[in-house]
Amino acid sequence: MRRANPRPPVDSRLSRAKLVSMAEYIIDSMTVKRIEVLDPRGNADEALLPPFPDEEIRRIYELLVLARAFDERALTLQREGRIGTYPSILGQEAAQVGSALAIGKEDRVFPSFREMGAQIALGYPIPLLFRYWAGDERGMRSPDDLDVFPICVSVGTHLPHAAGAALAAQLRGDRCAVVAYFGDGATSKGDFHEAFNMAGVFGLPVVFICQNNQWAISVPVERQTAAKTLARKAWAYGFEGVQVDGNDVFAVCRATGAALEKARGGGGPTFIECLTYRLADHTTADDASRYRPDAEVEEWRNRDPLLRLRLFMERKGLWSDADENEAWERARGTIDEAVREAESAPPPEPGEMFDFACANLSPRQQRQREELEVRQVRQV
């Protein structure tokens, strides 16, 4: 007897051995597909070739170049102290640009903090991006004709907002879909789970796009989860997860397009894992050589998303060295201009920290603002 209760009668050691005789049958099964179009050398099976007109393919490539030129410049500006800590998108341009290109004007986008390629492809004003990274929150005000939520720094916490925006669309009958971007690290957060589950339960029009760049700062994705793929996680919520070659802009674009179409048509959520790689340090404050081998980085450099599209275009006779130089020149020109515009914007006034604290300041806030402004004037 354990205490007053009848003694647990089963010797557990006994029972442990005899499991074989139980009736077991399979009641549930799931699979995960991988989607790819272009291989790292720019080859594509003719049968699988995307039907984009040549001009569009060139323009896709130019957007990839623009995203990379932005990144290059941001890193330089950071070194020069002209912007703050910055997270590079190097290597993830295809996953970001490719997915963003499939997004319609009517759709709602919830980026994480490493999505500048997507923002640029969506038409987010580049000067605003520079201003944000220079520490001016006015850079996060999305233009009125563009539905892009502010960058979310707290990993994964924006996923419930995406679910809510999709629920609002569903309830109001808005024919639009919602896209949420996040990293492999975000898949470990409770909010990822709760948002995915809600999306599954309500069959929400949302496309979850994971930029699996295989690292969350110093934690490799194998230490982030024991799941063989991230894509399989969607099945836990009753909807499909697919893995896409994230360095293949065609595959990403079309997987996203299909998922968005499904969402808009009432087919519910989809999870797209873009398998890609973070070629740079986590941010300018990081030194990735402390924790990951150069060889791995090198290997992924060979799978550069720009390179493979360029090779593809060259083979098709769509692209020359001159085109390449011109594209870069144009991109850098656009970026120069954006930096000029960003840096010529007047700095915020101190009192502006109160501007959007709430719709109507409380008397105490009002007084604090006045005191701040008085101090300001005194110091000038």
Partner: protein, 319 residues
Amino acid sequence: MQMNMVQAINLALREEMARDDRVVLLGEDVGKDGGVFRISEGLQDAFGPQRVIDTPLSESALVGAAIGMAAYGLVPVAEIQFMGFIYAAMDQIFSHAARLRSRSRGRYSCPLVVRTPYGAGIKAPELHEESTEALFCQMPGIKVVAPSGPYLAKGLLLSAIRDPDPVIFLEPTRLYRMIREEVPEGEYAVPLGKARIAREGGAVTVIAWGSMLERAMKAAEGYDAEVIDLLTLSPFDAETVLDSVKKSGRAVIVQEAPLTCGLGAELAATIAQEAILHLRGPVLRVAAPDVTVPLAKLVDHYLPSVERIRAALDEILKY
């Protein structure tokens, strides 16, 4: 009509939902079941499952989704089943609801109400009797409201729903069915940010809110005490508080939560900063002790009692 606070809140929701089809309810068991306290009784039948939504058991995503809904044209009223389960949603409330307007520089806003029953005295299990309003009062961008009776509950809830920013709406469970009073149908809003003189008096100012108002009023009987019902806890109505204290020269704050770092501290600090020259004696706080609220057998010893409030009145009147 005579009604209790549950009925008054139900009526407020019903009227707002009828008036404005952007208003939607969501939470655990708010739909078919009508909420564990029956606050949303009949509302799913009246407005359909699209507007009264049973969510999975996910406090963080429930509030987080409400933020997304609020940003996209709806006016969600989210229910957290008990205040003890709101902590899982703190990140969403503080990192996001409170900041969306500011982070997006006004592009998006968050007209969201999070309702939750709060407070001790209903003899329920752990985490069912919390009163941690001060957690939210320190979050810029969040308003916090706590009605003390049916009439006020309805009027304040109307104001909360119409407010363009997120509001935490705390409903004192102990009073849910304790007080019945006349609650008119139709519109009347009790404004946010304004306290109410619940009882006039000259010798001492008693400040209370939510479930403690009832005890403060009882305690004040027989004293020349002015009782202020705070109603909005954040931003609180410093003017009404200070005017009264300047007049009476004495302040007693009654707070259900544990003493340390409760809202009473801010009230006392505000008085100490702005009305000190009018004070005749110390600013007294009557609060629960600094322990976790105990279960049923001891909870009566934990909650500030009418006797303790009277003892504080007697003490302050010596000055």
